[in-house]
Each structure stands twice: as structure tokens, then as C-alpha cells.
């Protein structure tokens, strides 16, 4: 039984059914990062997917831009408890990028410029659930929000949407990434409130 805080609740925020438990609405776009924002030049940017055989599929910035671009309207939910509803992104579906990849592994480790990693099951990246996003609200993605390109996996807490993404390595096991080693949940479903271990 929770203890009651006398007189608390007068300033409560708007609530909607779109808000997962324990989240509050924000109209800002806060930043959560463990270190400095890396500066990534699109002239040198590269994205790769590496499988268990060592096979690598690589895309340059121009090659990524030449792929079919999708518009994604979605809500995003940060583990630090803010949610932002109705955001608009543009990017390339992971289904497009994985179309030529052959793997029998079920898990992925996503790597970023700057050394950040996060782990996701492959099935959470496929079937229209994940993108490499390069635009937010009609503008090129700002570096502090992960530009030039970040992973976008909006059905999970937003730390899974790795900023400054550079590649995906297939794993046979669900090995923990950076935040997952430092206390955050291995899967991170906001509707189940999977915040911490």
C-alpha cells in the first residue's frame, strides 16, 4: 500500500490512454546520453550489418539516401519518464536493410559512433517496427538527438533507439549492451514498465 502524500496532486499533468504507466507528457525533446555528442560527418558515415559468418553488408550515406524512405508517425517513451506523442520521423526501414542479410541468429547488438551499444531481439527490428532515421519533424536529425542517423524502435524505451548508429552485429545470445549492463532492463517494454533489472 502506497503512502499518501498529503496535499499532493494539485499540479498533476494531463493524462491520456497513449501514455504508458509511470510516464508524463512533455513537449520538449530532452536528451539522455552517457558522454559527449560525437561529430559524425556524413561523407565518412557508414552503416553495416555483420552476421555470424563474418559477412558484412555496408551502406554509405548516399546509398542509404537512395533506398526507399518512409515517414514514421509515432510516440516515443524515455525510461527517464518523459513521453512525447505524435512525433514525425523519416528513415529507412530495417526490413529494407535486412532484405539481403542471411542469418540464423535471433539477437542483435547495435553499435554507435562513440562506442555506445544496445541489444535487441532481431524480431523487434523487423516487420515495420524499426528504422534508421535521418530526419525529425522535417529537418535533418540534430547531433544531440543522434544525427546524422539513429535507430528508431519506438515500441521500446527510447534508449534502445541508439543514437549515432553505425552498425548491427548478429548475436546468438541476448548479450547486454551498454545501458543494459548499467542497470536498465534487457528488453525495455514501456507498457510493461521494464525500466530496470
Amino acid at each position: 500500500m502506497a503512502v499518501i502524500s498529503r496535499g499532493f496532486g494539485a499540479r498533476r499533468r494531463e493524462s491520456t490512454p497513449d501514455l504508458p504507466p509511470g510516464q508524463f507528457l512533455t513537449t520538449d525533446f530532452p536528451v539522455l546520453s552517457a558522454g559527449p555528442t560525437p561529430e559524425v560527418d556524413t561523407a565518412e558515415w557508414e552503416f553495416l550489418i555483420r552476421t555470424e559468418t563474418g559477412d558484412e553488408k555496408k551502406w554509405s550515406w548516399d546509398e542509404l539516401q537512395a533506398l526507399p524512405q518512409e515517414t514514421i508517425d509515432t510516440d516515443i517513451h524515455c525510461v527517464t519518464r518523459w513521453s512525447k506523442l505524435g512525433t514525425t520521423w523519416r528513415g529507412v526501414s530495417l526490413d529494407t536493410l535486412f532484405a539481403e542479410v542471411e542469418t540464423s541468429y535471433d539477437f542483435t547488438m547495435v553499435h554507435s559512433y562513440g562506442g555506445y551499444t544496445t541489444n535487441l531481439p532481431l524480431e523487434d527490428l523487423l516487420d515495420g517496427k524499426a528504422w534508421i532515421a535521418t530526419e525529425f519533424d522535417g529537418e535533418p536529425l540534430e547531433p544531440e538527438h543522434g544525427g546524422p542517423a539513429r535507430l528508431l524502435v519506438p515500441h521500446l524505451y527510447f534508449w534502445k533507439s541508439a543514437k549515432w548508429v553505425r552498425g548491427i552485429v548478429m548475436h546468438g545470445d541476448d548479450d547486454p549492451g551498454f545501458w543494459e549492463q548499467n542497470g536498465y532492463h534487457t528488453y525495455g517494454d514501456p507498457w510493461q514498465e521494464q525500466r530496470y533489472w
Binding site: 502524500s5 508524463f24 520538449d28 558522454g35 559527449p36 560525437p38
Partner: protein, 241 residues
């Protein structure tokens, strides 16, 4: 077994304003597992009709005790912080969960030089590190750069001054108003100022930066430009609402 998912009931035992908008709370939390310097916790408030709100706060205290110290800055459009700053009184109960976070921490086993850089209430996790450094009589060189709007906006000023010794240096930056006779005009942290008032990249310090997003972004970028290894710069940001 105690897990991070458990809520502990805490009782406020001390409450005092630190600045015009910042308040220090000491909360007695039976069962609290202790925390490392720099960790944070989730704090939950429940209204009489069952409505709940949870926010994360850095912890100013460290170690094994069950007296958990917080320092909360009131956000003008906030929901939880105005309650903690204006309404809570000694004897009130609230709930906490944690400790949380395993990266933005300093442990006494670390022997390398450390540069702490705080903007405003971003001092809270860093004061825990400074206290731990002092309590351990650590010989690791520590230097704290604390950026505040005006002298009256500093948290823990007297305590921080009292920590200064051969292995702990303290530098101030005032962004709006300086003490009289201060050698530098008021202004934000810049690359030039960091070069003057923080450990050099050649000392290979671990750098902890905590503050509002804009402050942390600008500071971390300037540190990288000064040659600090990005892998040695740890940041914690707050911002938005």
C-alpha cells in the same frame, strides 16, 4: 531479497532551503541498501485519490546508511519538484526505489585524476563523489568546477569550501552575477575558461559533467576540443520538464 523493483517508505527527517529554489531533504529509509557516489533513485508521490507521479533524483549522500540526502531544484512548471520544495514537511512520508544507475559513479578504488563539472543543481551527484573522495582520504587528484548563475545559487558552498585540500581543488564560474572583486566577468563556461580552470587532457582525468542539457552539451564538446578522450567523459543531463 531486495531488488530494484521494491519501493521503500521513507520519512523526511530534515528539510531546509539551500537557495531561492533549491531545497535539501534528508529522508530516513529503513531497508535502503546503500548507494555508490553518483547514483540516483526514483521518488514516488501518491495523491489522496490514488494518483501517482514518479521522478528520478540524484542522491547527494553515499555509502551504507539509510539516511538518504536529496537536493531538489523547483522547476517552474514542475509537478513533483514544487511539492518537494514547497509542501513537504519533516515527518512526511514518501516512497523511493533504487539505487539506480551504474555508470555515472565514482568509487574510492579509482586512483586516476578526476575532474567534476557541475551546472546548477547538477552538483548533487558530484557532491556525493566529493564527499566520498574526502571520506576515503583518497589521494586521487580531484578538481571541481561549479557553474552557477550567482553566488546565492550555489548548493553546498560552505561544505565544498571545507573539502578543499591538497587533493581537492574548487573553481567557480558565475554566469549572471559574480561576487564583488571577482577576477572574471560573469559568463558561461567556454573552452578557454575550461582550459584555465580544469585538469588538462594531458593528465588523462576521468571527467564527470552534470547539469542542464545545454550546459552539458557545450561543456562536453569543449572538453573534446581540448583533447580529452570522449571515452573518459561521463555525462548526466537533465532538461525538459
Amino acid at each position: 531479497m531486495v531488488t530494484r523493483a521494491d519501493w521503500f517508505v521513507g520519512t523526511v527527517t530534515e528539510a531546509a532551503m539551500l537557495t531561492r529554489t533549491g531545497r535539501r531533504l534528508l529522508v530516513d529509509v529503513p531497508g535502503w541498501p546503500g548507494n555508490r557516489p553518483g547514483q540516483h533513485l526514483d521518488l514516488r508521490l501518491t495523491a489522496e485519490d490514488g494518483y501517482q507521479a514518479v521522478r528520478s533524483y540524484s542522491i547527494a549522500s553515499f555509502g551504507h546508511g539509510q539516511a538518504v540526502e536529496l537536493a531538489v531544484d523547483e522547476l517552474p512548471d514542475g509537478e513533483v519538484s514544487p511539492y518537494l520544495v514547497e509542501d513537504v514537511i519533516v515527518g512526511d512520508q514518501l516512497e523511493v526505489r533504487g539505487p539506480l544507475g551504474g555508470f555515472f559513479v565514482w568509487d574510492a578504488e579509482q586512483t586516476e585524476p578526476v575532474q567534476l563539472i557541475a551546472g546548477g543543481s547538477g552538483i548533487v551527484p558530484l557532491v556525493a563523489m566529493a564527499r566520498a573522495h574526502h571520506a576515503a582520504a583518497s589521494a586521487a587528484p580531484f578538481r571541481l568546477l561549479y557553474s552557477v548563475r550567482t553566488p546565492a545559487d550555489a548548493y553546498f558552498a560552505d561544505e565544498l569550501l571545507s573539502l578543499v585540500d591538497a587533493s581537492f581543488a574548487l573553481d567557480w564560474v558565475y554566469t549572471r552575477e559574480t561576487p564583488s572583486g571577482w577576477p572574471r566577468p560573469a559568463g558561461r563556461v567556454t573552452r578557454e575558461l575550461l582550459a584555465e580552470t580544469s585538469l588538462s587532457a594531458s593528465d588523462a582525468p576521468t571527467v564527470y559533467v552534470c547539469g542542464p542539457t545545454g550546459f552539458v552539451e557545450a561543456t562536453a564538446k569543449a572538453l573534446v576540443a581540448l583533447g580529452h578522450d570522449p571515452q573518459r567523459i561521463r555525462t548526466e543531463r537533465f532538461g525538459g520538464s
